[in-house]
């Protein structure tokens, strides 16, 4: 068993090595795609939500298309490293990857030249809206009470967290504050290494609120250490049906979210892209995928190649506005 694992990992690694070095062999034209194993690059670490989603998608693609889809984690640099690896891989359909919302944010910060335009979009699979969580010992029972307290308090008194500086949940906070007519830094942002440490700090009494997604806050909420006051989405999450949307609770029509989708390098052959999108649709509709996502409380959203491209363009423009307002943009 151990042998099998190492050999498989080695095969995946060597495939990636070949891809990085630019040796991606050209598939024989006569053969139907996929004629050999496909590498799926994930810009985030093993064990996280993006990794888990990519692995279930890869397993189901493998079932549908009959070739191994090997998930390779290319971590680091807040996602820049992995996203770069996807964009610079040979566009032959044998290296694809999972894009995350950061691709529409990083180029505004001047971290990379890469933008949604640098890829061949294949399908949008998931979107999770941010929530607004407070500690269970917090005096605020509704998002309205919290908002009123924030408005009344001097700038910087309230402290929020959920991810790193300029991360998606930071921008969610900025968007919400702006929708309320407040300055983007009216609530101070405390950068953290992800949602889990932020939720822990919330429970430890170090923060006033977090704006990470509700699934990320789930275990702490279920432990009775925190509660979710609202979601910044157009509809409630069926797994957390008693948490209202911002619109329902305060009449503010603001929504955003962290999304995940599958894409390849720019300039992939159209027939291969179409085939992959069709197969991804089957994956999306499968019972296994739906069950897996609802188990973890992840939202499912479908968008085919064109819809995904339009979705990313819209999100990209929105992010640009929010990041400029927050003073995070260098572009």
């Amino acid at each position: 068993m151990s042998k099998m694992i190492t050999r498989r990992a080695f095969a995946a690694s060597s495939a990636a090595a070949a891809a990085v070095a630019g040796f991606g062999f050209k598939p024989a034209l006569a053969q139907a795609y996929p004629a050999r194993p496909v590498t799926v690059i994930v810009p985030w670490g093993a064990g996280g939500g993006t990794d888990a989603t990519a692995r279930i998608v890869a397993a189901l693609l493998e079932k549908d298309l009959g070739q191994p889809f090997n998930v390779v984690n290319r971590t680091g640099g807040s996602g820049v490293v992995g996203h770069t690896a996807i964009a610079t891989a040979p566009a032959d359909g044998y290296t694809i990857g999972m894009l995350t919302v950061e691709i529409s944010m990083m180029h505004w910060q001047g971290l990379t030249e890469l933008a949604p335009k640098s890829y061949t979009p294949l399908a949008l699979m998931n979107e999770d809206p941010p929530g607004i969580q407070v500690s269970s010992t917090s005096p605020y029972k509704t998002v309205k009470e919290l908002a009123d307290a924030i408005k009344a308090a001097p700038a910087g008194k309230f402290k929020a967290s959920g991810t790193g500086q300029g991360g998606i949940w930071h921008l969610a906070l900025v968007g919400w504050l702006q929708a309320m007519g407040l300055a983007p830094n009216h609530v101070a942002w405390v950068p953290s290494n992800g949602a889990a440490p932020a939720m822990q700090d919330l429970a430890a009494g170090g923060l006033d609120l977090t704006t990470c997604s509700v699934p990320e806050a789930r275990a702490i909420i279920e432990a009775g250490k925190a509660r979710s006051l609202a979601v910044m989405a157009t509809a409630r999450n069926p797994v957390f049906a008693d948490v209202p949307t911002l619109k329902e609770a305060m009449g503010i029509d603001y929504s955003t979210g962290a999304w995940r989708g599958i894409a390849g390098p720019k300039g992939m052959p159209a027939d291969i892209a179409t085939k992959l999108t069709a197969s991804l649709k089957k994956v999306y509709d499968s019972k296994e995928f739906k069950e897996f996502m609802s188990n973890r409380g992840f939202g499912t959203v479908w968008g085919d190649a064109t819809e995904f491209a339009a979705f990313m363009d819209k999100g990209d423009a929105q992010m640009g506005v929010a990041m400029k307002a927050a003073g995070l943009s260098k572009a």
Binding site: M1, S2, I5, R8, A9, S13, A16, A17, V20, A46, G47, G49, D51, A52, A59, V71, V72, N73, R74, T75, G76, G77, S78, V80, V81, A85, Q109, L111, T112, G156, K159, S161, G164, Q165, G166, A188, W189, V190, P191, S192, N193, A196, P197, M199, Q200, A203, A204, G205, G206, L207, R218, A219, I220, E222, A223, G224, K225, F292, N295, R296
Partner: protein, 503 residues
């Protein structure tokens, strides 16, 4: 309770679970003992396999592989002075010194025996104390983490054998290395020189592999073959362990307790547990002068500590979905995937599954003893193998392992670079272990310090106001000024004597 225990036994006594556990144990032992392949990587590579297993079997593989890998990281540390995992780095020098003295079996035997004891102690804490321990973990905010990381950094001077000044210098080099990248509180790229790969920063594992393994290979190439260790029968591995247990029972218990507490704190984990325990052992030892010369006392305490932290690291993971360390982070992903969502309901609604996890921890730590003995016996052949065959194999392992960490060539370049840095540092008497400590702790100390200041609007008062933070601060400051006080006291007492003599 008895009923749930019986159900738990039924859950784990299926062929699938037994086979999965045994196979994962062998796999964990092998991966952990190869320099450059860490316990975290062993666990990460298991994730795709767990897709095809039942929930209990899936968790069994992770429990068994991670426990085994942390222990077997001691093996190359003792035999070749190349720690297999960062958790073994704290005492690799000590264990290697014992091997050179011809006490390899005692060093490795202490590794396996006290690891097993520590693992079982950690499991018991998980069973009995999970809710109160979780409360402790949840009361730690960034203020407390700052002091904890500060105390961790202070271990650098205690652990090193060289001059404290050089140890502190090495640690600062490590801190400087940890500044590289974008994963800092400001989200600003630092020292990246426009290189995309540097945005991710320098991970501790490639740095560790470089400074220990590659530098060791370079030294071997440049120095004549050392006098061979006298050829003799490799003695019994477990023989002296009971005596050690009796002699060092207090050190062992302290190691267990420290390991359990550090393990429970999210983000600290086995690496820090080993460092703190080794330093504690030296600080409170009756014979601190023997440390670094091949003295087993520190091994007992640190070995007991790092394995205890593995089990207790599951407490915040299971109760709140907050990982205690990177291994637990991967385990959480698997738990979710298998429908065992972390949370307090896991302890009530799925009590039999929980007991099954406890039982698996205990079984894994018991089978560690026979498996570990076999592994040590096999590995000990390395001591007799000619250097010209061992060193190329180590280089190969380093290259493969460092590639596999990030699946790119950058890892290999990092390892090579740190090999050179490590070699130069060692040649000039700068302890590389202190640098590794700086790299491991750097991110945590910066993150906790900066975020604490943001939260307190720039005031340093909350670092001393919160009760736990105040205790930790007192410990840290006390440890800092204690040597100064002792020095002043001695100076004051000695001063009059020469003064009168000169008259």
């Amino acid at each position: 309770m008895l009923n749930t225990l019986a159900q738990a036994f039924a859950l784990i006594s299926t062929w699938e679970v037994i086979v999965a556990m045994l196979a994962a144990s062998v796999y964990g032992l092998v991966i952990g003992s190869l320099p450059g392949l860490s316990a975290t990587m062993a666990t990460a590579l298991l994730v795709p396999v767990t897709f095809y297993l039942s929930p209990i079997a899936a968790i069994a593989t992770i429990v068994a592989a991670s426990s085994m890998a942390i222990f077997s990281g001691d093996i190359p540390g003792a035999l070749l002075r190349i720690p297999g995992t960062p958790a073994s780095a704290a005492y690799a020098d000590e264990a290697y010194a014992m091997t050179r003295k011809g006490e390899a079996e005692l060093a490795l035997g202490a590794g396996v025996w006290f690891s097993a004891v520590g693992g079982i102690a950690g499991t018991l804490s998980l069973m009995i104390l999970a809710p109160p321990l979780a409360e402790i973990a949840l009361s730690f905010s960034t203020f407390e983490y700052f002091w904890l990381a500060f105390l961790g950094l202070m271990c650098a001077t205690l652990v090193a054998r060289s001059s404290p000044v050089k140890a502190i210098a090495s640690m600062f080099i490590g801190l400087l290395v940890s500044c590289i990248g974008i994963e800092n509180p400001g989200g600003v790229p630092r020292f990246t020189f426009g290189v995309t790969n540097l945005l991710g920063g320098i991970e501790p594992i490639p740095a560790l592999v470089g400074v220990f393994a590659v530098a060791q290979v370079m030294r071997a190439m440049l120095t004549p073959e050392p006098p061979p260790i006298p050829r003799r029968k490799f003695g019994s591995i477990m023989a002296g362990q009971w005596l050690l247990t009796k002699k060092y029972h207090w050190q062992m218990t302290r190691g267990n307790i420290i390991g359990i507490i550090i393990g429970v704190l999210p983000g600290a984990g086995a690496d820090m547990a080993a460092w703190v325990s080794y330093a504690m052992s030296k600080r409170f030892s009756k014979e601190p002068e023997k440390f670094g010369t091949g003295h087993v006392e520190g091994l007992v305490e640190a070995g007991a500590s790092n394995n205890a932290s593995i089990a207790s690291g599951w407490v915040p993971s299971l109760l709140f979905g907050i990982p205690g360390d990177t291994i637990a982070a991967i385990a959480i992903g698997v738990l979710y995937m298998k429908g065992l969502n972390p949370g307090p309901t896991l302890f009530t609604e799925k009590a039999s599954s929980m007991y099954a996890i406890y039982l698996m921890f205990i079984i894994a730590n018991i089978i560690m003893i026979p498996f570990g003995i076999v592994m040590i016996r096999l590995a000990s052949h390395v001591l007799r193998a000619p250097r010209s065959t061992v060193m190329p194999v180590i280089m190969l392992c380093c290259a493969v392992g460092s590639f596999a960490i990030g699946n790119n060539m950058f890892g290999v370049v990092t390892v090579a670079t740190f090999g050179i840095i490590g070699y130069v540092m060692e040649e000039n008497g700068y302890p590389v272990a202190a640098m590794v400590l700086g790299i491991v702790m750097g991110t945590m100390i910066e993150q906790s310090f900066v975020t604490s200041l943001i939260k307190s609007d720039g005031s340093v008062l909350p670092f001393f106001e919160r009760p736990i933070a105040a205790i930790l601060a007192a410990m840290a400051i006390g440890a800092l000024i204690w040597p100064v006080l002792v020095w002043v006291w001695r100076k004051l007492r000695r001063e009059p004597a020469p003064a009168t003599a000169s008259r």
